[in-house]
Each structure stands twice: as structure tokens, then as C-alpha cells.
Symmetry: C2
Amino acid sequence: MTNLQNFIEVHKERVENLFPEIIESLHCSSPLKKSMLYSLQAGGKRVRPMLLYAVLDSYKIDKSLGDNAAAALEMIHTYSLIHDDLPAMDDDDLRRGKPTNHKVFGEATAILAGDALLTHSFYLIASDDRLSTEVKIEIIKLLSFASGANGMVGGQTADMEAEGKSIDVDSLEKIHTHKTGDLLAVALQIGAAIAGASPKEQDHLYQFGKNIGLSFQIKDDLLDVEGDQEIIGKPVGSDEDNEKNTYVKLLGLNGAKEKLAWHTQLAMDELSGISADTGILKALAQYIGERSQ
Amino acid sequence: MTNLQNFIEVHKERVENLFPEIIESLHCSSPLKKSMLYSLQAGGKRVRPMLLYAVLDSYKIDKSLGDNAAAALEMIHTYSLIHDDLPAMDDDDLRRGKPTNHKVFGEATAILAGDALLTHSFYLIASDDRLSTEVKIEIIKLLSFASGANGMVGGQTADMEAEGKSIDVDSLEKIHTHKTGDLLAVALQIGAAIAGASPKEQDHLYQFGKNIGLSFQIKDDLLDVEGDQEIIGKPVGSDEDNEKNTYVKLLGLNGAKEKLAWHTQLAMDELSGISADTGILKALAQYIGERSQ
């Protein structure tokens, strides 16, 4: 097993082990808890927590300092998937091969579970007694900017508005920078804030995050065309059926692959400006561009 | 014009004047902004900001220190109404006599506008440069607890689960304490945190908030039976049609009125433990129990 495989396995388990206790601690009815936990435990690569832990790893910072923020990142990502899957949005019955939240718990509970996951992620940061007040405010500022109208939700809206329309690569890039990239990049920024990295290194990590955010999305688009349905957990070609704007549609297979390689390289270049040991971050950037799911 | 009428008018305008700039500052598409602003500007009593400003008034604190928190409280309240009105939830076409958000902008945008309002409310607090870092973290902790699964969203879920079932007054009280009361009480707590009130006075303000939260809900139930449709902006008797559990249904008209008076008195009693000038808070507590909308 490579260093990276080991790192991914250990930290996937680390963040997944946090969820039951977080949800169990809530004072609310059992169906709401079950619905929240169902989607948190529905699998996934846990890329955002992974990136956060990788920054802490680079700076040799105690991983427990990143636990609440890692859980919060994954909770925000999960809420966005629950709401995206709703009949009024993408209307998906399956997510990672399992019934989507509203198929199991009903639409109303799914909406509320998403709302609760989002809200509680801020509570997790604010009540974290392992971080200084300054770092907590910095994290909440970064996270609320990257996940709201200025970031993820804004990107999601723009994506919806562009569906069925013909757009250019710049517009597509802007959409994905917000829809997917911002929350990936903020995982790096949060790691940098917890590690107390210098402003210069914080910026390198942010740029690294922006580039791998784009790589991530391009790879998603490629997997939709070239992936193995069994592994990616959804039908191959579903983007085309849904008239989605994708990098493959706009650039062709080879163009998309070239662009993926380019952003991965740009990400690598950013890491050379950082004095900490960025071995795992480099390996993660490679993995994001080469993964099979 | 009484002192209270003047206070309400001035501070309603104060918080409403904040919304256009807050929404305009967002970097996102115009439909999302319009949808967010539409519901923020759809009227309402602005009770939560009013309570916050009333605490600052009592302690002679500069109102501008409460502006971001006041806006955040109203944004969270507004997001909860947008999501509550959705077809999968209460399926309401009208809110305060105007078409609900999803009727104007479509369900998908309404869901996202709610998500964005919630998320940005935390950004507003975290990026407020008039408050100390300690106070900001305290506010975010209070707000995220009161509005998530532990508070408002939990109460909303419990309310939904109880619909059509026969429940007792204690269960109804528990539901409303969370669904409505927690966000009202937290407005008081946030005011106390900004004013730097002593822990003892903070607790009095919190208990005051809990009691007027219950008065508020009982009065809502009474207005649904006895109110003027033109003034309350929805059909009289709609709760009964929707098989909602209400105080009037469980206690009768007189029983509900007695309970309302009792909680208003309990709220007043809490204020006697506070050395600041609580004239406006007292008047607000009266107003909440006597209002016609």
C-alpha cells in the first residue's frame, strides 16, 4: 500500500468516525437524525476533509485540531448533495448507487436534514475548544463565503441557469470554480489557517486548491463518459442525457484531458512555494486527476 | 405616537435598509439575488431584530453594533419561511398576502435562496468588524444552536411529525419552544452578548425570550381564529383546515388567552432582575401579546 493509499484510508475512517457522535449529540427527533446520518454515511471520497488533513500533515500539526472543521466541510458538501438531488433540482433517485435522501425519508425531511447539516457545521466550528477564537472566526468567514451565494450556492444557481444553453469554456470554468472548486479550495485555506501558515503560503495553498478544484470537475466530466458505471455509481453518459454543459462537450475528450493535466501541473507548481513537506498534497493532486470514481 | 410605536418604526426601517446592500454585495447571478431580496422585502414584523435592538437600547449600546446580527436573525427567519412554504412542506401559495418565493422564482431557486440566506447570515457575523472576536464566536454559537437541529429545524421537524396526530399541551409547547421560541430567545441572548450583560442578566433576558416566544405562538394561534384576514394576510381558520395542533385546539379560546397572559407576566417578572432601563422590552412583550397581526 502506498503512502497515499494509507493516508486516505486512515483519514477517511477518521472523519467517518466523527459523524455518529456529532449526530447523536443533537437534541431533535430520531427521523431527522437518521436522515442526516444516512447521507453522511452514504460513502464518498471525503476529498475535502482529506485535503484539510493533508495540509495539517504537511505542517506536522495534530490532526485532532482539524476534526471539527473536517466534519463541517463534509457536512456542508453532504447537505448540498441532498438539496441537489431533490425533485425540484436534479431529481435524482440514486446517489453513489444508493437511494437519495428524499427517496428514503421524503422530501420535507430531506430539505430539513440539509438545512440542519449546514447550520450545525457552523456550530461545530464555533464550539470547537481546541482552536483559538481568531482561527475559528477565520474558518467561519472562509467557509460561509465559499459555500453560500458567493461560492457553492451561487455556482449551483449559475449551473442551473446555464442548463440547456450553449456556453463557452470561460463561463463553464466560472460555474465550476464556484460550484465545486470553492469548497475544495477552502479546505486548503482552513488547513492553512489552523496550521498558522504564512500569508504567502496560505495563498499558494489557495491557488493549489483552485487548480485541483478544476481538475476534479474535469475528471468528473471525463468519468461520466469513460468511467465504469459500477464504480462511479451512476449511469455513464447521464450528463449528456441531462443536457449538461461539460468540459468534454466543449473541449472534446483530448482537450479535456489536456486541460486536466495542465491544472494538475499548475497545482504542483504552487506547492513548490511551500517550505513544509507537501508529499501527501502532491500525491492527492495526482490522485484527483487519475481516480476511477 | 407612543415610544414603542416610534421604536418599532425606526428599527423596522433600520434593519430593512440593510438588506439591499447586503444582497447587492454578493457575487452571484441576478435571479438568486432577486429571489433572496424578494422574501427579505416581503414585509413582516421584524420581531427578532426588534428584540435585539431593544436589548441594546436598554443598555445604551450603539445600535450599529447590532446591525449585522439583526440582519442575520431576519435572514435566518426568512430562509425558514421560504423552505416552510415549499410544496413538499406546507405548500403555501401566499405569505403575508404576497405570492411565496417558489411561486415567483420556481422551487429550485427558492431552495437555493433559502440556503444562501442561511449561509450568508453566518458570514455577516464572522466578517463584522465592529464586534470583538469573542463576541462574534459567542453569537455564532448561539445562533447556529438555536436555528439548527437543536432548535428551529428540530422544532419544524417535530411539528411536521405531529401533524394530524393528537398531542398534549406539553408536547405542543416543546415543539413551539424550538420552532419559534428559540430564534426569538436567541435575539435577546445576542443582544445581551453584544451589550456585555452579566451572566445573571443574560439568563434573565433568555428566560424573558423563552416566555415571549411562547406568548408569540399562542397569539399566532389566537389570530388564526379571531384575526382579521386582511391584516394577518392569510385565511382565518387555516390551521384547523390543515389539522394543525394549536393552543386554541388544545386549551380552548379562554384557556389559550389565560396561558398567553401568564407567559407575558412571567416575561415581565424576568425583567425586574435587570438593572438597565427595560422600558422598550416591557412594551414589546405587551405588544406581542396584543398585536392584531
